[in-house]
Amino acid sequence: MSWLAVWACAVGLLAQKVAGAFVPRAWVSGERVRGVLTLLPVAMFGALTLTQVLGGTDGVVVDLRLVGLGTAAVALLLRAPFLLVVVLAAASTAGVRLLAAG
């Protein structure tokens, strides 16, 4: 891989973040824009939760990550603290994988 492509990738990714942080306040202070900005993360994390559980390198893959998400949902219903939710999701996925492999 050429160094030009590597630097372009890395600096481009950094520039995307910095650009967002320096968007003039006036552009995003309208009531409608603020409304979108409040809902945007809710929509994007809804999308992200599912695509990270079912996303593969090529399209959609159903695997044992779903067990982790299910466990997380149950833990959240039982009002478990945040870190416990995350640990239980990882542990249940790892556990079922171990069982499936053995």
Binding site: M1, L4, A5, V6, A8, C9, A10, G12, L13, L14, Q16, K17, A19, G20, A21, V23, R25, R32, R34, V36, L37, T38, L39, L40, P41, V42, A43, M44, F45, G46, A47, L48, T49, L50, T51, Q52, V53, L54, G55, T57, V60, L64, R65, G68, L69, T71, A72, A73, L76, F82, L83, V85, V86, V87, A89, A90, T93, A94, G95, R97
Partner: protein
């Protein structure tokens, strides 16, 4: 619900935010996979390290390496990585009030704006901006440190940490995102927005290149808003 939060948080809220951030920061050990995948794809170890240190966007970095591994043109890899990175721009706009005002510090902070730090900042924002900032910085610094340290290990062929999937760590990030969403899933309108966005992204995942599904899901926010304006 979150945009009108106070500046000051209780010491308890800040402590919880820090603890959650430090915990989530450990997820950066996934860098060992990136290092190994990148080198297998034909990047030099140093190139993998530069991507993690400067680019610092896991999904984009994996996409870039995947295109290289498949023998694709560098331009395709760049397009794919940047497409996935577009959401960081939107996150940075949303987090604007939480980021430092002085320019050097603001640039450093924006380098840490990714899915996980945004999720953690927004999760703690209802408890005040102080808590949100504590969550953002602890998550960001923790992830940056572990992601880069383990990228070096993976790139130079150290397999001692093994495959993070064995530990179920690939299920940890989605669980964290679900936890962030949880309070919103208990309110009718935001639950509909999150649910519709998830469905839209899943449909998009079948037909569109990586990066598009989450943005397509984000577009649901626009529909959600226009419905509110009408109703």
């Amino acid at each position: 619900m979150v945009s009108s939060s106070a500046d000051v948080s209780t010491p308890d809220a800040v402590r919880t935010a820090r603890r959650d951030g430090v915990g989530l920061g450990l997820l950066g050990v996934y860098g060992v996979s990136f290092g190994a995948v990148a080198v297998a794809a034909g990047l030099s170890p140093l190139q993998a390290v530069v991507l993690s240190a400067v680019g610092f966007t896991g999904g984009s970095q994996f996409a870039f390496a995947a295109v290289a591994a498949g023998g694709g043109a560098p331009v395709t890899g760049l397009a794919s990585a940047w497409l996935l990175g577009v959401r960081n721009t939107l996150y940075a706009v949303r987090l604007s009030d939480l980021l430092p005002r002085r320019v050097p510090a603001r640039i450093i902070a924006s380098a840490l704006v990714i899915d996980e730090t945004t999720a953690m900042a927004l999760r703690h924002e209802p408890y005040g901006r102080q808590a949100a900032r504590a969550a953002f910085w602890t998550t960001g610094i923790g992830l940056f440190a572990t992601w880069n340290a383990t990228t070096v290990l993976g790139a130079f062929g150290v397999q001692a940490l093994g495959d993070p999937a064995v530990l179920g760590l690939d299920a940890a990030a989605p669980a964290a995102f679900l936890a962030l969403l949880w309070p919103y899933l208990r309110q009718g309108r935001t639950a509909v927005v999150a649910g519709s966005a998830a469905v839209v992204s899943l449909v998009a995942a079948f037909v569109a290149p990586a990066g598009i599904p989450v943005l397509a899901g984000g577009a649901v926010a626009l529909v959600g808003l226009s419905r509110r304006v009408r109703g």
